[in-house]
Symmetry: C2
Subunit: 79 residues, 2 copies
């Protein structure tokens, strides 16, 4: 089973990487870009076959390692 985790910064948390991208886009003459936020995408290939077990395990992985839940949100999609 494949899991796709997206980790994004919570609203209000400063995002210097996003700011740098926005600045670079403006420098390349792309107008009308109001905000840029950068997050992470993590794709896992798991042995699990049961969706509920997989979801519980991946949630544990996010809480323990992948996301810093003080400043980041995460979403999990299973395929």
């Amino acid at each position: 089973m494949k899991a796709r985790i997206t980790v994004t910064l919570k609203t209000g948390v400063l995002d210097p990487q996003g700011k740098a991208i926005k600045h670079a886009l403006t420098g390349l003459d792309f107008k009308g870009v109001n905000e840029v936020r950068q997050g992470k995408l993590i794709e896992l290939d798991l042995d699990d076959t049961d969706k509920d077990t997989a979801m519980a395990r991946v949630t544990q992985m996010c809480e323990k390692l992948i996301a810093n839940t003080v400043i980041e949100n995460y979403t999990i999609e299973l395929e």
Copy 2:
């Protein structure tokens, strides 16, 4: 309009970040993780209201700045 860009490494390109995450998950006793790949997620808030124009512009942004098309693939979703 919001655009959500995912940038992932092409198959065959080494992913040391993914490897490090896999190693850390194994260290935390999560079993059955076969592969981990890390990508980037970039969220843009654009002034554009027309979907076709926005898609063309964001594709240009990806080609010129956001993705390194030699080693990375990108997908664009508009909302």
